[in-house]
Amino acid sequence: MKSLAYILKRLLLMVPTFAIVMVIIFLLVRMLPGDPAIAIAGDKASDADLAAIRERLGLTEPLLVQFWLFLTNTLQGDLGRSIMLKAPTLGVILDRLPTTAFLTLYAVTLSLLIAGPLAFVAALNRGRWPDAAIRAVFQVGLSMPVFYIGLILLTFLAARARLFPVGGIGHGFVENLHQLFLPAMTIALYTSAIVMRNLRAAIIEVLDADYVQFARAKGLSSRLILGRHVLRNALISTVTLLGLSIGNLMSGTLVTETVFAVPGVGRLMLEAIFARDYPLIQGLTLTFAILVSAVFLLTDLVQSWLDPRMRLT
């Protein structure tokens, strides 16, 4: 009952957040330099064409009127029509969203699979060569730009070794596990570096904690200590970290989806910005905002499950 009230409270808090997000989205898009009419019709269009386009898009209306329309339409689930795709914005976003969601979850899974075991190895060998080696390798991953990692993976694993296809997307879950491995890995290599460092530090901290020393003194097996006490407590900060990096992961897809030719919302966002596609930029930003808020909420819930102290706050 208490957790239900907690969720409701968190959901209510989202209302003012979204009100602010809507205002910012609306204003930011209109502060971009450049005329959307030129972006739509191209440089060759006549002045009359441009005027007609501005009229049709409602860009000649006062800003407040435009905002009111944006607000009321959005609340009714109408995000308008994408200018460049000539189709309803919501449909376009919903079409592309599953791909990005798949890619992001895949990347998170891979980064946990990479970072988890290695963090344990590093923490348990603190200060010795395995620790140094693991940290050195991840430092390289952290220092390289995402698109560069992507191109290296593409060149060696796809074009040369032919282990994976060079970009694009497949059909169905299993095919995409193979098809999207490289883009997911590109994001995961970066994310896992952060997760590994954090998890390693957390494990070390927990290993030194009094209750772990006490458990050892009681004669509990190492496996039990690591599984029940260390992992669970070390995960708290990692979950927070992953939750907070959802924004990073999302922006990672902008680059990765372009390099790997994955038709997701990340690439769509880039295209929409270049095309000054106001409705699409607004719709996508709103989608990102909703996703980030949802992930934050989920993070809090998982955290309170892992750490009972947080349930009542």
Binding site: G34, A39, D43, G167, G168
Partner: protein
């Protein structure tokens, strides 16, 4: 193995291996594109990835000849222009059908041309603004013109006048023509066009599929209908490096828009043909010629001698080497690419001559240290290179060139408002006639002479005369005069022409990108 068996094996190999005996047919061509189509409809196509695909799905009444300049029969097997230049009559081929087998009739032609010239629907309507009325009597089509129009036959061979099925539009859901068009495109299928292919698959931003129209009217070398291919599978790969990797890995057969820096490397790849198709693309920089700048300060570029000096001081060969790695040539006409009809060869157009440039600057009395802003596209490596080169080339003239980086729509807005000194720009013809590009670059009422503010009464009246001049020789002479006036006035920094760089697997032959950019798969083959 005895000699006879070897001989017969060789004979068999000769038969199988010689293309003269059998035309390669069948197969799917895999094509990596730089950007995806959004709506391939003759009248709504307004972006190159759409425009360049129209002809694969929709046929026009007339076609461009192989030389790219003449017109030849298309859906209409013959055409005639009346002596007064006010009526075009065309005779449709008999037995024409759309890709689904339904008949293509005069009613479809009327519907298509009425749609194409409706300014409320299409931004291309102005190209056929001379049409007064289209009528059909059986296979005979009559197009009545308001005024004589020297470009009308060319326009009937241009993508926006391609023929669509009236029945398909009547049956499509949607309240407006554009909604119907979008619904037809989303659904795909053979019912709407009569081109060599029909749309048989589309995932926005990802893939597109063309399937062969088995009833296409044009015949291949083997006497059977074109196209040779069963279809084309397009994948959208926006990143240049990835597109090329995909080709090198053998996952696609063609990768378009190869960056010029990679051309030499791919030329050396024995599995590829690195095609450099001649284009009508020109790269130039408009120069603001207004007496004052947008901020009210006096504009040094208003003096024609300064503009000429900048042109003389620009080493085009060096620019082509730096930006295109040699894969281009200096503009030879000031107003259009050499591949455009009625272009004249004025090369060397402002050949590099730094002494002449310095003399002109001295004559104009330009003070040393004059600051000029060069506006480039943010993120464009080519523009950055051009700027760095010009900054050095113009330094001996005492010009302090500074850069301002903006994005595409901002550059377009600056061009229109005149808030620039010089900025990079490019152009590809959409139609096979000089009037479009000349109107854009030089005719002040059309686009303020590409935003420069340049105005020349003689030029403008020559341009307007050329719009209705029916004598090809006289019209060519008018365009020649315009080119000479324009070169002298130098409202542009005349730079270079670039080809379309397309890397094609050696398994593919017959794929062509036209000088206007259109992708032509009609006679392409693939052997696996």
């Amino acid at each position: 193995m005895n000699t006879r068996r070897i001989a017969s094996a060789l004979a068999l190999a000769a038969v199988l291996g010689t293309p003269a005996f059998a035309q390669d047919r069948g197969g799917i061509l895999n094509f990596a594109r730089y950007d995806g189509s959004q709506l391939v409809d003759p009248i709504y196509a307004d972006r190159n990835p759409d425009i360049w695909m129209v002809a694969s799905l929709f046929d026009t009444l007339l076609r461009l000849g192989a030389d790219g300049k003449s017109v030849e029969p298309g859906l209409a097997e013959s055409h005639e222009m009346s002596a007064d230049g006010r009526t075009v009559t065309l005779k449709l081929r008999s037995g024409l059908t759309f890709a689904d087998g339904s008949p293509l009739t005069g009613a479809d032609v009327i519907f298509s041309l009425d749609r194409a010239r409706n300014g409320d629907l299409s931004s291309w309507a102005g190209l056929i603004g001379s049409i007064d009325k289209v009528t059909a009597d059986g296979d005979m089509i009559t197009i009545a013109l308001k005024t004589p129009d020297p470009t009308i036959l060319t326009m009937l061979a241009t993508f926006n006048t391609a023929i669509v099925s009236k029945a398909a539009f009547d049956a499509a859901p949607g309240a407006t023509d554009q909604e119907k068009s979008a619904a037809i495109f989303a659904k795909g299928g053979p019912g709407v066009g009569s081109g060599p292919f029909y749309l048989c698959g589309f995932e926005q931003g990802a893939t597109m599929d063309f399937c062969a129209n088995k009833g296409y009217w044009r015949q291949g070398a083997d006497g059977k209908p074109l196209p040779y291919l069963d279809g084309v599978h397009f994948q959208v790969i926006p990143d240049d490096a990835t597109r090329i990797l995909k080709l090198q890995a053998g996952e696609v057969d063609v990768a378009e828009f190869v960056p010029f820096a990679r051309v030499a490397e791919l030329q050396a790849d024995e599995k590829l043909n690195m095609e450099l198709f001649p284009s009508t693309r020109i790269i130039y920089s408009p120069i603001n010629v207004r007496a004052t700048r947008a901020d009210g300060s006096p504009n040094p570029l208003a003096d024609v001698r300064v503009r000429q000096a900048l042109n003389y001081a620009t080493d085009k060969a060096a620019l082509i080497g730096l930006v295109l790695h040699g894969a281009g040539k200096p503009m030879s006409s000031p107003l259009m690419a050499a591949a455009t009809q009625d272009s004249i060869d004025m090369s060397p157009l402002y050949g590099y001559d730094i002494e002449k440039a310095k003399a002109l600057i001295a004559e104009a009395g330009l003070p040393a240290g004059t600051k000029i802003t060069f506006t480039t596209l943010a993120g464009s490596a080519d523009d950055a290179t051009i700027f760095a080169a010009l900054q050095q080339m113009w330094a001996p003239l005492g010009i302090d060139l500074v850069v301002e980086q903006v994005d595409g729509p901002t550059r377009g807005a600056k061009n229109r408002s005149g808030e620039f000194d010089i900025h990079t720009y490019g152009w590809v013809n959409d139609v096979n006639d000089a009037s479009q590009v000349v109107g854009w670059l030089g005719h002040t009422p059309t686009a303020n002479a590409v935003g420069t503010g340049w105005e020349d009464a003689t030029f403008n009246s020559l341009y307007e005369a050329a719009q209705t001049e029916m004598d090809p020789a006289k019209r060519a002479d008018e365009f020649a005069q315009m080119q000479k006036i324009y070169a002298e006035a130098a409202p542009l920094l005349f730079m270079y022409e670039t080809p379309f760089a397309v890397a094609v697997s050696k398994q593919v032959s017959g794929y062509v990108q036209t000088p206007l950019g259109a992708n032509v798969f009609e006679e392409a083959t693939v052997s696996r």
